[in-house]
Every structure is written in structure tokens, then in C-alpha cells.
Symmetry: C2
Subunit: 428 residues, 2 copies
């Protein structure tokens, strides 16, 4: 293993050191466009066709039945059920606490303005397939959707070649009140909820992770007026550590990120050279026992170990990178807690591993990667709501602000805008 330690890099090389893996998406755009066009023309028949091609599955009915959900529930172990119950309770509690109260504001006497929240009525949740069932993401997306009051929550996930989906996913979806579960994956799943087919209704917003095909499909969905949770990219973790950190713990966190995929980004920033060196040793030790060692090793080979003399430089680099996950393992936690501007989710102290937030502490694990934390929040209750502004103006209010409106409308050359005020003021 090559673990190069970068010492006190100067500002002008930060971008190079922390360059994220480039995603080449142009090549697959045509495939995505073709499948969308086919789904638009042929609806369910196109879904059947692509399920055969991509999932090697010959289903003609996609919706999971009550029976399938019942059988699934019997096949999920009690341990997993209990774990899901704990995670569900914490996720519920944290997202429920995000409800807002809006006050009415009298901006000028007689002019009352306020906001009210409404749920997005119909949303879709995409859960990727693959070797293991990502049922934790079902909890992370369905629970806040239901707290927000979304009427229709549709889950889509690819079936295996026998047309089945993992019992944990069915169980979690049912527990969280998902309304419809479709065994459809990949581009065709995103096309179905974007365009609608005979059996799948179109939705207003699509949530959930996916491979590059799903990512490009979600981006195309936005051109059809469907909103998405956020743009996607490979997962990433940055740990900042000083002498108060415990190298074995830091190594375990870096490895938990590294096992996601060979393109995962793992960064250690430290003001202690001995912590850096000890952590690298611990990684070498712990990685040997991991079933996903090959994947983790590739990510670790691309990982960065950065030493800074100055915590101020460390903080600047962290904000310039904008990590999805950010672990603070230092004595003066508040320096980084108060100073962080760009990050998705922050984990503080030696007993707060990233996996707590991935599963069960209550925070959401759908977070902005790829530096998107500079402009995007992670998924939270707001992601399932929208605000409407309301205003009510009395006769007195219109007298108070009417002439300002008239002057501005006139200066912008919009006489009918002015007239809508003038015609009322004349009567007052």
C-alpha cells in the first residue's frame, strides 16, 4: 500500500490534491434518451423489455403484492426487525423535530405576508439493487416523506432474475407506509415515474441513490419538469484529527467509507504527524480482515493524508473541499463545528462513527457529495415540502404601498401592473 503524506500543501495545489474522480457521463446519455423515448411511446411494454435486458427478469406485473410483503415479513430476522425499529424511531424523532412554525409578518401597516408549508403530493424513492439490500435508504427517505404528509410514496427497486426483491426492503417499505412498491430498476424505473405508464403514475419528485445510469436518468427527468433530491457522485469522508484522536477508530471510519467503492474518497487531515502515521498503520492492520478488502484497498490507494501545522489552514482546506461526511476528532471541537461552512453531515468526537448516521442515530444519510455541499443541503424534512407565500392587504395597506408599486411598475414599463393598483386606489 502506498500512503503518501502531504505536508502543509499550499493553497494553489489544494484542488489538485483533492480532485474528485471524474465521471464521464456523456457516453451514456444516448442510451438514457433512447429508453425514455421508448417508455414514453410504449409504456409498460418498454418496462418489460428493459427489465429483461438489464435485470434478466421476465416479469409482466411489476407491483409487489400484499402476499409478497407478508412472506417477506416472515423472512426477516427478529434481530433485523429490532434494529429497524430503533433506527426508525430515531429517524422519525429527528425529522419530526424539523417541523417549522411560520409567523405572519406585517411588513407595512395593513400588509400581511406569511409562508405556509405544503407536502409534495407524489414522490418516488429509488433503491438500487446489487449484492446487498440497501433497506436503510428506505427508512431515510420514506420516514420523512410520511412526516411531511406526501400522499403517494412510490418505491422502485430492481428485481433479481426470479422477479424478487429483498425481504428487508419489502419489510422496511411496508413499515414506513410506502404506498406502492414496483419491481423496476435502472433507467426504466426513472423513466416510468417521470413519464407515467399504464401501471406506474408519474410523480413530482424523485429521491434516492443509484449508479451512473440512474444518475443520468434523474438528470434527464428534471428536463421533464420532475424535481430530484440532488445530483449524485461517489461517497466521501474527511476526518480531521489531532493528538486526542484514537488511530484505531479513525482507521475504522476511513475504511467504512473506503469499502463503498473503489471511487470512494477518503481524506485524513491532521495537525499531528504521529496520528497520521499511526492511522496508516491501523488501516493496514484492519483492512486485512475485511470481506470487501479489494474494493477498500483501491479507495485507500487513492486516499489522501494531509498534515498541517495550522488548524486554520486545515479548516480552509476542509471548506474548500466540502466533504459529504466530516468527522471531527480533535480536542477543540468547537473550532471546526463553528468554522465549517461546506459539509453534508458532521460527526463529532471519538464515539460518533459515520456509520451511526448511516443507519440509526436519526440523521439522514442522503447527502451532497462531489462538493455539492457548497450549495445543497442533505435530504431533510424540507426536501418533501414546499413553501407557499401568502399576502393579504387591507385598504389602508394598499394606500401605504400603492404609490411605490405604481412608480416601480411605471419605471419598468409595465402599465397594466401599475393600473391594477391605480384602479383600486381611485376607489379608496
Amino acid at each position: 500500500m502506498m500512503s503518501v503524506i502531504v505536508e502543509n500543501p499550499s493553497l494553489n495545489v489544494w484542488n489538485d490534491i483533492l480532485e474528485r474522480p471524474t465521471q464521464k457521463i456523456e457516453n451514456i446519455e444516448h442510451t438514457v434518451l433512447d429508453i425514455f423515448a421508448d417508455v414514453k411511446r410504449n409504456g409498460d411494454n418498454a418496462i418489460v423489455k428493459y427489465s429483461k435486458i438489464f435485470d434478466n427478469c421476465t416479469l409482466n406485473e411489476f407491483e409487489a403484492t400484499e402476499d409478497e410483503i407478508l412472506v417477506a415479513s416472515n423472512n426477516v430476522s427478529d434481530d433485523i426487525k429490532s434494529a429497524i425499529a430503533i433506527a426508525k424511531q430515531n429517524i422519525y424523532k429527528f425529522h419530526e423535530s424539523q417541523k417549522r412554525i411560520y409567523n405572519k409578518v406585517e411588513t407595512t401597516k395593513g400588509v400581511q405576508c406569511w409562508q405556509e408549508e405544503r407536502p409534495i403530493e407524489d414522490i418516488a424513492i429509488y433503491i438500487p439493487g446489487g449484492s446487498a439490500p440497501l433497506f436503510s435508504t428506505v427508512l431515510m427517505l420514506a420516514i420523512p416523506a410520511k412526516i411531511a404528509g406526501c400522499k403517494s410514496v412510490t418505491l422502485l427497486t430492481p428485481p433479481d432474475s426470479e422477479g424478487k426483491i429483498a425481504p428487508e426492503i419489502l419489510f422496511a417499505a411496508n413499515e414506513c407506509g410506502v404506498n406502492k412498491i414496483f419491481k423496476i430498476g435502472g433507467i426504466q424505473a426513472i423513466a416510468a415515474v417521470t413519464l407515467g405508464t399504464e401501471t406506474v403514475s408519474k410523480v413530482s419528485k424523485i429521491f434516492g441513490p443509484g449508479n451512473q445510469y440512474v444518475t443520468v436518468a434523474k438528470q434527464l427527468a428534471t428536463k421533464y419538469g420532475v424535481a430530484i433530491d440532488m445530483p449524485a457522485g461517489p461517497s466521501e469522508l474527511l476526518v480531521v484529527a489531532d493528538d486526542s484522536a484514537i488511530p484505531a477508530y479513525v482507521a475504522s471510519d476511513l475504511l467504512s467509507q473506503a469499502e463503498h467503492g473503489p471511487d470512494s474518497q477518503v481524506v485524513l487531515v491532521s495537525t499531528s504527524m504521529s496520528i497520521v502515521k499511526e492511522t496508516i498503520k491501523e488501516i493496514q492492520k484492519q483492512i486485512e480482515k475485511l470481506p470487501r478488502k479489494t474494493i477498500a484497498q483501491k479507495a485507500i490507494d487513492n486516499s489522501k493524508f494531509i498534515y498541517f501545522d495550522s488548524p486554520n489552514d486545515a479548516l480552509d482546506l476542509i471548506n474548500s473541499y466540502g466533504p459529504e461526511h466530516f468527522i471531527i476528532n480533535v480536542k477543540d471541537e468547537s473550532f471546526y463545528v463553528n468554522g465549517v461552512i461546506n459539509a453534508g453531515s458532521v460527526f463529532i468526537g471519538n464515539y460518533t462513527p459515520e456509520s451511526a448516521g448511516d443507519y440509526a442515530s436519526g440523521t439522514n444519510h442522503t447527502l451532497p457529495t462531489n462538493g455539492y455541499s457548497k450549495a445543497y443541503s442533505g435530504v431533510n424534512l424540507d426536501s418533501f415540502l414546499k413553501q407557499i407565500t401568502f399576502q393579504k392587504i387591507t385598504r389602508e395597506g394598499l394606500v401605504n404601498i400603492g404609490s411605490a408599486i405604481e412608480v416601480m411598475a411605471d419605471a419598468e414599463g409595465l402599465q397594466a401592473h401599475k393600473n391594477a393598483v391605480s384602479i383600486r386606489l381611485k376607489d379608496l
Copy 2:
């Protein structure tokens, strides 16, 4: 003028009646891609080139100087300055009131989770050119950006052929604390803040309206990781009225929307046939005096007048349409106020014309068109902020939720995630 009144349309024809004008954007995507590629390669030189082509302007320096701002301030009338001051105060007051307080939540004993807000550090505001200077949009975007704490607010707007921009825009921008003003318009402006050039820095999020070129350019910007306020479409207004409405007022509101452009959508929904007929007569009367009569007439010709016996049907149609602007002129206001789910901004009562919200009441006028109100809020303070989640877990907390994390990570096949907990639990 042809004004067809549709009576009690059945659900299955609502989409046809209220179909929005289609925007054909595919044809201009190549132009936008070419200009982005050129700006990426040639920076400022490309900006100079396209300013010549599109704005017939031969500027080599784009940034507005202190001197220009001073001269502009002297050229803005006192009336306009006073009007701007009133609007500014109300917009400030309403957006300032949107600040949130976040509480820490203990989801399980020893597990503390919370959110904190941070400003998006660098944003751009695009203000279109054209016959009249849209300085009201400067207020609507720069004021909340500054309340949010955005460090760098860059404004871009096309210059005239003499390289000048309207004094009202320069004055408003300076009043609101805009940091940099660039005389760059259209696709090249969006490319500059997306990619960065020698003189223009790239930003994290772009706000503001624009023609279809700007719209497509903003959509392309998202592929480069830059966020945008929301997708755009032609402006629209729906008024619901019963016998308590005043036809002359309703007509003035519909016309204020119609004068925006021939593709503006104007809809009257009513449970009173006499109000519909009187409003149509009033439109015919008022439209004669408008300087933008030709534009307004085209929009009115495409407008819809829909009569319903039942307010429930009226409400359903309104939510199915999701109007950008929604005026409620009925006796039982609360029926629609409480029942509306999809709308951008709502105006209540006979003395609350849409133009109040366009200019000076305090609410924002950057709103979701084209049915996007089903998934998007209008611009508000949140648009300039993002939330970061934080969590801090004590030893006790990790003992409480540790095994749930281990079980779930194990079931998802992620052993390193499990190990990050196990290695800590062993020490406790």
C-alpha cells in the same frame, strides 16, 4: 377578442384546457454547448466575442466601476429612490423573518442530533436586459442573499450597444450590497459564472430569470455542479372569483399578467357566471389603453375562463394546475387558503393585486411557473442557505444504538461499517 367560457369541464379535459405553451429548447442546446466550450477554452476573450455578437457591444472591461455607480445614482429620480426604499424595507422585513432556530434533539439517550444553517458563500444574480430595466428583481434576489450572509454576490446583466446598463439596476444593486456588477448578458454570462474566467469567478448557485437561452444555459450549468434557483417558464396567473369579486379589479389583475408576454397564461376560475361575463367586458375596456396592448391581447386570446358550479371542483382544478400566482377573490377565503396545495404565491382579497407582490409588499416574485409549484418553493431565505446536520454521541449513546448499527450494516454486507462500531464498543 374571442373569450370562450368553459362550463363545468370534467376532470379528463383539465390538462387539455390548461395546457401550457410548449417550449422547444432542443434546437438551442447546441448553441449553448458551443458557447460554454468556447468560454471554457478562451475565458474573457470568448465573453468579448459573444458580447459583440449578441449585444452589439464592444466592451473589453466588463465590471461596472465605482464611478459608473455614482453617476447612475445621480440619474435615478427621487420618486424611484423612495419607491425602492419602501420595497427594500418590506422585502427585508419579510425575508429576515424567515430566519430559523434549530433545536438539538436527543433521539436516544446519549445521541444528540441537530441542524445548523450556513450561507451559500458565492452566488450570482442574472438580470435580463430588454426594453425596461428589471431592477425589482435585483431587490428580490440581492436582499435575501445578504440577509443569508452570502459573502460574494455577483450581478450580471447585458449592456446596451454603448456598453451601459440602466442606472436603476446599478443603483438598486449598490443599495442592496451587491459585491460585483458585470456587464455581461445571455448565455455567455451564465457560462462565465459556471466556469470562471480571468475576471469573473465561478459561483456555487445562479439565480434569476431570463429568456430561453438563459434558461437552457442555467440547465447546463447544473451539469457542471452549479445549483440554480429553479427551472423557468412563462409567467402565469389564476384568479378564483365569486360574486364578492369586483370585475374591474379582476380584469386589471389578469391584464397585468397578460402584458408580460404573448405566452403568459391567464386563467379565471369562477363559481359566478355573471362575474365571468363582467370581467370579460372589463378586460375589453381596459386593454384599449395599454401601451403593451398587442402583447396583452395575444395572451388574453389564449386565456381561459372557466365556470364551475362547485367550489370543490374549482379547488381541484387549481391544485391540478399549480399556478405561479393565485389570487383569491371570494367571500369564503379560507376555503381556498386552506385548500391550496400547489401554487407559488397567493394573493387574498380585493385589495391585494399581484403587482403588490411583484414589487413592494415584501414577498418574493421569483416563483415556480409551469406547474413546478408541485415540487418547488419560490425563492425565499432558504434558497441562499443550506443546512448541515451535526451529531455527537456519548459512550452511553453508542452502547444504546451500537448493536442496531451492527445488525443493519451486517445485513447490508458492509463489514467495515459494522467494525467502526464494534471496535469502539469493545473498549466500552
